[in-house]
Symmetry: C2
Subunit: 331 residues, 2 copies
């Protein structure tokens, strides 16, 4: 392994000087910089990130935390996109990115999780799939020992940013579109919501209710708990007499559509997320497409901002209203 000392010798300077060049310190003359860079080139030197991490507690290692349990097809697609986005942005920023998974923390208390992250010299975390029941992770963020970027939870502080689409607005938009493009403003809508411990569920319900006030349609909200099966059952029971079925996730929308098809009725259905599976689910379905890859990228860039000393903030990302067709997902 070629080390910084080899480079120093080759360039005829001190190791500290090489280090300064690597890290773009000021107070190195153009001349020296050139000579050092030349030596780096020639020796194919790549700094050992482990050593760097040890010596400067600075090192940019970011962990992606989530709960891998209850993995559905949809969530693994979404997670994969988060991770790939984060890795991509991490590569561009030339830092380590170390995905971990919440499973390893199951049953641990906050201190222990903290210690484990510290033991890896991790300074910043991206948390996805967080809901209100995950007390340990929530507390971890609130203690602010780490720079945290949390997806789809309204947390914000000195060291915490949140990121995600505006769920209330998006729900309003997709529902309005579904209503206006179909039968009219005085319909009755069955809204099948996600799990109640989730922030996005609250927001989406709020959006639907505000729109119902605004347009004056009848709105029935029922808890589908993000379950395709439950959504299907609810639709069987209560869907027939409604005009539109709106769901708090695509998976539930698919369940609802299955039920409608079985009953031989053809109400429009709208979902939320924009997963690939929607392309296989039938016609007459629209959804809010989130760009999960982009969210992952942005989340990582936000980690860097926070590590750079800037304050936490809220980031809203754009979304699309789409009809996912089979042709679009076909590969």
């Amino acid at each position: 392994m070629v080390t910084i000392r080899d480079v120093a010798k080759r360039a005829g300077v001190a190791v500290s000087t090489v280090s300064k060049v690597i890290n773009n310190y000021p107070s190195v003359s153009e001349d020296t910089i050139a000579r050092v860079n030349e030596a780096i080139e020639e020796l194919h030197f790549i700094p050992n990130s482990v050593a760097a991490s040890l010596s400067s507690k600075q090192s940019g290692r970011v962990a992606v935390l989530t709960d891998p349990d209850g993995q559905t097809l949809a969530s693994s697609e979404i997670m994969m996109q988060y991770i790939m986005g984060a890795v991509k942005a991490g590569n561009e920023a030339r830092l380590d990115i170390v995905p971990l998974f919440f499973s390893m923390f199951a049953g641990m208390n906050v201190e222990e999780i903290e210690h484990r992250l510290e033991a890896q010299n991790i300074r910043s975390i991206i948390v996805c799939g967080l809901d209100r029941d995950m007390k340990a992770l929530t507390e971890l963020i609130e203690r602010e020992k780490f720079k945290s970027v949390v997806v789809d939870m309204p947390m914000e502080s000195e060291n915490t940013s949140n990121i995600g689409v505006d769920h209330a607005q998006a729900q309003k938009d997709i529902l309005r579109k579904t209503i206006t493009e179909n039968t009219g403003p005085s319909d009755s809508v069955l809204y099948i919501s996600g799990r109640t411990n989730s922030f996005v569920t609250e927001e989406r319900i709020r959006g639907a209710m505000e729109l119902s006030e605004e347009l004056g349609f009848e709105l029935t909200v029922m808890n589908g708990a993000f379950s395709e099966k439950t959504a299907r059952e609810i639709t069987f029971k209560y869907g027939r007499d409604k005009d539109i079925i709106a769901c708090g996730s695509d998976l539930m929308a698919i369940g609802a559509m299955k039920a409608l098809t079985d009953m031989n009725v053809f109400h429009p259905v709208c979902g939320f997320d924009g997963i690939t599976l929607m392309g296989y689910a039938g016609k007459n379905m629209t959804t809010v497409r989130q760009d999960f890859g982009f969210i992952g990228e942005e989340a990582l860039r936000e980690c860097m901002r926070l590590m750079g000393g800037e304050k936490g903030r809220s980031i809203r990302v754009p979304y699309d209203l789409v009809q996912v067709r089979y042709e679009d997902v076909l590969n």
Copy 2:
């Protein structure tokens, strides 16, 4: 951060002794071990893995390498399961696992990839989704600087193990089952294969051909390139007159089934992989279900074996022949 020195002081021993206790060295008395462990408990000490990694070039950091391009829904589900399996096994073995992605290596030559991995003190890699065209990765493995575990490629050496199901046998099994459960041994079978640069494609084709010899049915092999769309087109053109459509992947099986449905003919179709999407694709389809999570776990354990100094080998893992039904994938 509580360090090994704090523990040493507390226990009244030298730091080296603490280190020995942590790493289960012999030549420490029961007595001392107890005292040190007590101190560790009391101080909630967790060894800094970065320092450990720097000091002993031993540290167990494993990278998962793959090509994230051309991510289909199916492959993201499969990758996620590989990764989660590996992470799970990694946690159990108490080592770091650092998923990286091949994307960062796009366009790099072998030396550069090597340097980058070295710079992270990575000693062992798991490679998935490798095909014959990925020269850099293949060469990386062949140079044997790393302990490599490669999924579904027939590479084996001192420092290289491979893992996967027996694709030829599995293809034979699922095809035999499909034939015998349906019309009889003298049918004509259309086999839509995967991409030709892939080892699993060769094996699966070989399995199908051997069975055709054995049972004496007519076998037509066509290249579907792992594409749902292509499989669909092939089926449209040539599927009608056949009795059975066998495919080299589930995604292609779904495409084939789509075509059959559109043509209003109902041949049995079999796929390969056992992805969730199959549950949404229709009746009369069977497939080989691989346990990707288990493969990920085993791959990581194999990394540890190799790092422990044992020689590379081939590992065949079990598979199931199943019919994925909607009820089974419903959540």
